[in-house]
Structures are given as C-alpha cells and as structure tokens.
C-alpha cells in the first residue's frame, strides 16, 4: 500500500466521518453543551466562593478571577468530551455491516480508524472555538496574543489527537455501545483531580501528589499559561511528552484490536 493511497483512503474515511456528524448532530451538540454547562455551573454556582480561595489575589479573588482560572480547564474538558463521543461513535460504527466490507477491500487497513480520529480532531477544533467564544461572552479576558491562542488551540488539537486514539481503542475493545460510553468516563473525572478547577495546593497530601503528576495537569498548566499570556515552563515539555506517549499507546492498541482476525 503506497503512502498516496493511505492518504487518499484516510481522506475518504474522514469525509465519511464528517457526513455522519452532519447526519447525526445531536451527539455533537450534547458533547459541546457538556463543557459549557460545567463552565456555567462552576462560574455562577461555585465561582464566588472558589474565586475567593484563589492564591495570588490581594484579599482573595472574585467570580471574574475564577472564570479566568477555570477557562483552560473547561477547554480541556471540551477535548475529553469530544474524545468520549468518539468511543461511542467508533463502537457504533463497528456494529455496522459496512466495516466487514471495508475489510474485504484493498484499502489502507486503518483508514477507517484514521477517519474517526481526524474527524474528532476537526470537531474538537470547532468545539473549542465555540466554548472559548462562550467564555469570552461571560467576560473572560486573558493577556494572550494571537500567538498564545494559536499555541493553545494547537496544543488542544494535539491532545485531542492523542486522547482520541485512546478512545477509539476503547470503542473497539467494548463489546457493546453501552460499554463504550462508560469506559472513557474516567477521562471526564480525571480533570477534576488536576489543576483544572482548584489549585492542587488545596488538596490533601496523597491526592495532591497524584494531581500534580497525572498527565493532564501539565497539559492544563500549559494551556493556562498560553491563554493568559504567561510564560510556559517545563510543563510544556511534559504536556507534549504525555500527548505523544498516549497517542502512540492508543494507536498501537487500536491497531492491534482492529487487525486481529475475528473469531466468528
């Protein structure tokens, strides 16, 4: 299989994936609504109190400060939300008869998965723009220039790419669509045990150590630095390293699951 064919088949499968999204928009709407609801909940219900606890503010921060603090975490949650949807859509796709047809065709073997992943990255890009616009509408103001935002969006798409290979694997490994919608739920929980919603300093010792060293924390810290116009530090390299590692593991796992010859 030549590289040109691999590229063409992946593009064809991406087109198929985007047509599916257009035909079945309710899943995408739900996945974008989820982070927006979290944003509203955290800023307006908890934000007054949580803002007062933020460090580095003279006499404590307010709701507006908390909006600035939480926006990078919400953008991250947007990525995990779309990735979760991809586990569901991959599992659903595998139940359809056309997958067997693809397997009997002389096409790039993994192109159907690549289509799902690239489709998810594009959906994440759109979702991030919508959620970010929402945050701006609520009054979010950072000191990031265009370059900072470009970096943030680029990092979010990279994270989307790596988490989606992982959730595609979960979709393939699931024995039913219901299972596929449950296994990736930890991706929605893990951001809460990170620097997303509150500074990790506020957590008890064991939890704090976990939160500081789990893969999502350097990603969220780097995003926060990028959108607030602060200087990125070593967290950037950890964020890139974790993304590459998760992408590679997710890819190899998905590949093995998809290429194994079915038993029936």
């Amino acid at each position: 299989m030549s590289t040109a064919h691999t590229v063409r088949d992946s593009a064809t499968m991406l087109k198929r994936n985007l047509l599916h999204v257009r035909r079945y928009p309710s899943l995408s709407i739900m996945l974008i609504a989820q982070p927006i609801l979290f944003l509203l909940l955290f800023v307006y219900v908890f934000g007054g109190t949580l803002g007062a606890g933020l460090p580095g503010q003279d006499g404590g921060g307010d709701r507006g400060d908390y909006l600035v603090f939480i926006t990078p975490g919400i953008l991250f949650l947007t990525v995990t939300s779309v990735a979760l949807g991809t586990a569901i859509s991959t599992a659903t796709d595998m139940t359809t008869g056309i997958i067997a047809r693809f397997r009997t065709m002389n096409i790039a073997r993994l192109s159907v998965l690549t289509g799902h992943v690239l489709g998810a990255v594009i959906r994440t890009g759109c979702a991030v723009v919508i959620v970010a616009a929402f945050a701006f509408g609520l009054g979010f103001r950072g000191d990031a220039g265009p370059l900072g935002w470009l970096g943030a969006v680029g990092l979010l798409m990279l994270i989307a790419f790596s988490l989606t290979w992982l959730t595609v694997g979960m979709g393939l490994a699931a024995d039913s669509v219901e299972t596929a919608s449950n296994t990736p739920l930890f991706l929605m929980i893990l951001p809460f045990v990170s620097s997303s919603f509150v500074p990790t300093d506020a957590m008890p010792a064991g939890l704090r150590q976990f939160a500081e060293h789990q893969p999502f924390t350097p990603m969220i810290n780097t995003l926060r630095a990028l959108v607030t116009g602060a200087h990125t530090d070593s967290d950037l390299w950890f964020a890139l390293g974790w993304s590459a590692l998760i992408a590679l593991a997710g890819y190899l796992w998905s590949r093995r699951l998809f290429l194994r010859v079915p038993a029936t």
Binding site: M1, H5, R8, D9, T12, K15, R16, L19, H20, R23, Y24, T96, G97, I98, A100, R101, F102, R103, T104, M105, N106, I107, V261, P262, A263, T264
Partner: protein, 318 residues
Amino acid sequence: MTATRPAIEVFGLTKSYGDHTVLDGLDLTVAPGTVYALLGPNGAGKTTVVNILSTLLAPDDGEIRVAGFDVRREPAGARAAIGVTGQFSAIDELLTGRENLRLMADLAHLDRATATTAVTVMLARFDLVDAADRRAQTYSGGMKRRLDLAMTLIARPRLIFLDEPTAGLDPRSRRDLWAIVREQVADGVTVLLTTQYLEEADQLADRIGVLDRGRLVAEGTAAELKRRVPGGHVSVQFTDAAGLSVASAAHPQASTDAETLTLQIPGDGSIAGLRRVLHGLDDAAVAGLTVGAADLDDVFLALTGRAAEAPAAEEVPA
C-alpha cells in the same frame, strides 16, 4: 496459461470453532468466467467458506488461492480482485445511495471524473435514481440489496462472492438480481454464490457444489445433480393418522410429517413408478396429492440419506 488458471482453488480447507468442525477438508475449484453455486442448508458452512475466501476469516488449514493469490500470504492481492456482497447489508445507512457509491468509487481509487460517471451509471442500472439522495436507512429490503450489489460492482471486480444474495427478497427482486448476475457473467466476471435454493443454483450456476457438514457431497451441473434425484417427489396428504402410518410403513424411504399428515415419497421420474405409488394408496384415506419437481430436500435426501435440517427461523436481513 494464466487465462486458464482457476479463479478459485481450495484444497483441504478446514475450520473449526473449539470442538465444532465447520469445514472438514473442503476441495473446490472454480473456473474463470463461470458461476459456481454452493448449495446447502443453514449451518452447512457456506458463509464460512465465503468469509475465508474473502479474507475476513483465517482458515485453520488448507491451500487457498483466490485470483491466484494465497489468501493468507497475499491477502491484498486477493482483495484487489474481489467484490463481496454478504447476507447482511454492508451499506452505510447514514449516507445516501449516491454517497455510498461515491465512497466505494473513492476507495477503489477512481479519479474524480471516472468516479462521478460510475456513480451515475450504477444508480441508473440498479434503479436507484429516484432514491439517490435519500439516506439508505429509508430504503426497502430490495433497494438495500441492490445498493449493496452496486457498491460491490462499482469497482469492477473480476471475481464476486454473493452470500445468499436473494435471502429475504420478494420474487421480483430475486429475478432482478439474477439478471444482474447474468450480466456480470456475460462480462467475464467469475461468481461464487451460496444459496439454499436449488432453483436459484439451477437458474444461475454452471456448476453446483452440495455442501453438507463442511464437505462437498456432490458436485456437477444442475442437470447432473437432478439426474441423481430424477423424479422429484410425490406428496400425499392423508385424512387421518391411521392412513398415514399404513402408507408410511409401505414406503420406508419416504419422509413423514405427522402434523400435516403428509407423506413425501421420492419418485424416480417414471410413469410406472408413479403408478406403483398410486396403486398402494387407499383412495378414501387420501385428502390431497401433488407431484413436485426435485427440490433441495430431495437432493439432500438422495445424496446424504437424510433430510436437510429444517432451516431454523429464517433470518431475514434488515
């Protein structure tokens, strides 16, 4: 030499799931440009053969070449030559008919102009023009099957596998599909189809293989097979169980259906044979009588000495 090389060569194909042997040393040769029908009841292993030949399933053992390619060592070569339409529809229900065909054309690496033309031609030929821009999930069973077949044929494969292509179709759709298969053969395409219906094999196939418990129990042209079950059968319906049991004792080779009080007696095709059957019947005990042509049950009875297992509740693809 390549022109006369068989399109399909199978030697000693075996496949089992645990203790259950599905294919038990199957040998099969299909000449290029011909139609070969694998005939057999549910569970005979027909679909397993198609899945192995189309590279979906790995065989346990055996030498299998499709279009000259070893399916285990050179699956890509085999895939490039084949088209498959299975029992269950392999269409993308969220896409329209046109988009489904375009997807196949793109995956066959046709250039843009050729792909557009091919899609238009296939829509017209398969009578899907009016439904072209509707989602496939709104199609009827017959339309889905036509779209499925159009998707298989758009890449112009040299060898096509049709797994029970007319299961669940109404008689008209069935005849339409037969016409399409004949057109393909006229173009030089090789067809391997599986079916439960002798009539279908009779209509389409140059050669028929009867598959039973994972091996071919007979092979030949339709005429050759029918010669082995020359007379079809005489079906006699009785007015009561007593009449049935008397007659069934007189015809030990017949199959008895106690529920419908029917005795099915294999015939030998001769008037004398028919007269012998009639002679032994008590007129008062008989409610009805039909003389039937050979069907799959007769072929099975003649070849295996037992009736074909009644197909379990027929699965009709959605």
